[in-house]
């Protein structure tokens, strides 16, 4: 099976790889970069667990091939805070019981980071709209929405 060389920046660090064209970006991050914080739920675009930030925009990494990210600048859940630290969004998820099993959490946290960067003072309706593409099957959404409100408030200082 032929492979292609790729190079990208992930969480500020250069990464190189040699991949089959059919390898998704999610699989490249998990298997080749060993960044297993990016989760895979449905692998066909429905659940949002695999959300990462590519060149500033939150996207589903199961619907991109790794070769398509050649040259791109990526942020995954591992890159949102210094090692051992929590970002304000992660902190707020903990405070507000925004997670239970944690499977969906990386997708939510990454989506919320991208969302608050664009809209730092969202209304509750805007928060619901922004999170509609992320599914949680166990916590319920109320704590998650409160977490986004808390994160927005704490980031506003």
């Amino acid at each position: 099976m032929s492979t292609l060389p790729i190079a990208m920046t992930v969480n500020g660090e250069p990464r190189r790889g040699q991949v089959e064209a059919r390898k998704t970006l999610a699989d490249f991050l998990r298997e080749d970069c060993v960044l297993t914080g990016t989760h895979l739920g449905c692998e066909h675009g429905v659940c949002g667990a695999c959300t990462v930030i590519v060149d500033g925009a939150a996207v589903r990494s199961c619907l991109m091939f790794a070769v398509q990210a050649d040259g791109a600048d990526l942020t995954t859940v591992e890159g949102l805070a210094e090692p051992g630290q929590l970002s304000p969004v992660q902190e707020a998820f903990r405070e507000e019981h925004g997670l239970q099993c944690g499977f969906c959490t990386p997708g939510f946290v990454v989506s919320v980071h991208a969302f608050l960067a664009q809209n730092p003072t969202p209304s509750r309706d805007e928060i619901r709209d922004a999170l509609a593409g992320n599914l949680c099957r166990c916590t319920g959404y109320q704590g998650i929405i409160r977490a986004v409100e808390r994160a927005a408030a704490s980031m506003a200082g």
Partner: protein, 288 residues
């Protein structure tokens, strides 16, 4: 890895894209935002020997105003249309975009992909049909312009040949006292619609309707223009009773699909109300 193996091509110009499409024929497929194609590959509903990625062709994206026409490149992202100031010249684009999936999907999904994919329940094909958008299509033989009314053939099927690429969509810009609406009923926010409408209304100085377009989605194997209903509304005052009547007329001769989500009768009954609601909003906007 779930998709079957394929050879990946990343050309940078339109002639190179259509050259590859011509060379590989029905073994090749363009890859736009991937938000429909990649799930189909992952589920192995389809497979291609060659994928021709359009994401590295700069000439395919961008929004440009040319007199009374807005030209939108096929690879323009749905999110760009949703947020961009330029697309506001064609309000139906900005009204339809937020109804497509979710923000992470619109950050990748493209206008051309939506239209070329031709899902019968998708919003953008109905917007193109409502406005009689002209579709610019390239092939090794050159460029041709197609009317939206001639483009959609059936479920996920268009007139495009294997070596043809949708490169841009040309939307007429309306002026005068006009208003627009996209309305739909879906099971959940972001789902494909069970039934929906994209419509535009222009009023004259006496508040009568001088022009109206109504395109339905989710109501057949392609988006559909409700031409009889349009004709019946022109020249009349759009009061509540009239718009009720037009809503019923718009769905009168249709044979909507029936599936696990909704019966054909449900789609007809609700579809009529959706048309009335959309027109009501478009009229309100035209008056302000």
């Amino acid at each position: 890895m779930k998709p079957a193996p394929f050879e990946y091509h990343a050309p940078e110009t339109v002639p190179d894209v259509v050259g590859l499409l011509a060379e590989y024929g029905d073994e090749a497929k363009p890859l736009a935002g991937g938000q429909s194609l990649v799930p189909m590959l992952a589920l192995r509903l389809t497979r291609f020997e060659h994928l021709v990625d359009l994401n590295r062709v700069p000439a395919l994206s961008g929004v440009e105003r040319r007199d009374d026409t807005l030209v939108v490149g096929a690879m323009t992202r749905q999110a760009t249309i949703e947020r961009g100031a330029q697309a506001q010249a064609v309000p139906l684009l900005g009204l339809a975009a937020p109804l497509i999936g979710h923000v992470q999907i619109r950050n990748r999904g493209t206008l051309g992909g939506s239209v070329a994919h031709a899902d019968p329940a998708a919003e953008m094909p109905a917007v193109a049909l409502a406005l009689d958008a002209e579709l610019e299509v390239a092939s090794p033989a050159g460029t041709r312009m197609l009317a939206s009314a001639d483009f959609f053939v059936g479920n996920w099927t268009t007139v495009l040949g294997d070596d043809e690429l949708l490169t841009a969509l040309h939307f007429p810009v309306w002026s005068g006292r006009c208003g627009f609406a996209v309305d739909e009923v879906a099971r959940r926010h972001g789902d494909f619609a069970l039934t929906g409408v994209a419509c535009g209304v222009e009023l004259d100085a006496n508040d009568t309707v001088s022009r109206v377009v109504i395109a339905l989605f989710g109501m057949g194997s392609t988006p559909l223009r409700a031409r009889a209903a349009e004709e019946a509304l022109v020249g009349r005052r759009p009061d509540a009773d009239t718009l009720d009547e037009i809503g019923r007329l718009a769905v009168a001769d249709l044979d909507p699909p029936e599936d696990i989500h909704a019966s054909a009768r449900y789609r007809s009954v609700v579809g009529a109300h959706v048309v009335t609601r959309g027109l009501t909003r478009a009229v309100q906007e035209a008056r302000t």
